[in-house]
Symmetry: C4
Subunit: 127 residues, 4 copies
């Protein structure tokens, strides 16, 4: 049986996030995505609360995400709707707080290159 464990941190930050808006004609991809990949390696369901910060306006949130035990979730910022969608082409940062230790990695995908990832980094873990 594979290993499981409570691995990671309960507080994570991505400081440089952006949902790209491609508008270069009919061939423009619609699938470029800003994502946070979340691993919950534990035996417990993880409940994450996400706050999104901007340069010139009040933060919005919390967005709620549930990651089942022993699962890897791919949170796509493009798809968040409640409390309100995140504006495109706007730099933002996000704070992810979970009741169970998780690991968070940022990836921005550029669909124009065949779903190749453009950038990635392990997020900052605050504790």
């Amino acid at each position: 049986m594979p290993a499981t464990a409570e691995i990671g941190s309960t507080t994570w930050v991505i400081a440089a996030a952006l949902i790209p808006e491609w508008g270069e004609g009919p061939g423009a991809p619609v699938a470029s995505r800003e994502t946070a990949s979340i691993l919950n390696a534990s035996e417990r369901e993880a409940h994450a609360s996400i706050t999104v910060f901007f340069q010139n306006r009040e933060p919005i949130g919390p967005y709620r995400v549930t990651v089942p035990a022993r699962r890897a979730e791919r949170l796509c910022f493009n798809d968040l709707e409640k409390p309100t969608p995140i504006p495109h082409d706007t730099q933002f940062a996000c704070l992810i707080e979970s009741d169970v230790p998780i690991v968070v990695q940022q990836t921005r995908l550029d669909a124009r290159r065949g779903d190749a990832a453009a950038i990635t980094t392990i997020a900052y873990s605050a504790n």
Copy 2:
């Protein structure tokens, strides 16, 4: 004589992994790879156990990898076969546990750009 030491951690996580599947005709590269580069700088052989997590199914593993003393191993997820190959075009996360401290760095290679690396990050070390 070069230095050797027990450097790193025994528990590592890559949260955003993906084996790309290129299918764009006869010129399509077959060598795009998701890899975990592992340094064992110690004088002891390291035995690593890898568990792979998914969004919608049970984790699989453990995969077993041995890294000799004073060697840098390049683990290619495409090549893992036992207990079962990792599905392509599917996001996964992996937990790497070793009996000797190691250092793990993720790299995804895009063979269409002359073996240039597309993305890299030091993995998350959990202890």
Copy 3:
């Protein structure tokens, strides 16, 4: 109401920074940028002091940046003017010191690819 907290570190380093200088004709982009995205998730205004180090000359600075409470700032090295602009096409490192904990992520943008980010990494936090 979204969460706020004093998250991060007061000392950060980006070791490999560079303001690209594109000069490939009339279509050359002028918007390629070296940036440090800074999250101040706290309730207090953060005052950051930035020192820039070079290979062959004395460091310059401090540059001063203020990040309001609960805001994500995007510091563009291209735009710094006081005490002196940072030379282009020259490798530099920077030390960012803040009176309030912040999180810093480096991103270099290559405007020739539609504002897609070329590289990113969470900066090094020194405490």
Copy 4:
């Protein structure tokens, strides 16, 4: 006067390094580089010792690098000659040990894209 301080760690690892070898005709770039950017923010000269590890052979080194006080060095692995050049197109890992705390960031440059960086990550700090 800008700030100076002993910031960073004395032990660093890059696990996934590679000196690219481009050989695609007369237009092939010769300047693609694997680099480690090193910040010595202290008032003391730093003496770094670098050991290079491979998959199938004994490690080589130490390579010696001196970083003056308050300087940012860009160590290019392509240029190392003593005790022996690092083979191209061969994965390697490196251990960087310094007598003064430093910060290390890996960057691989792809000269075919106008000196844009292809990948970067803060290296792993072991203490």
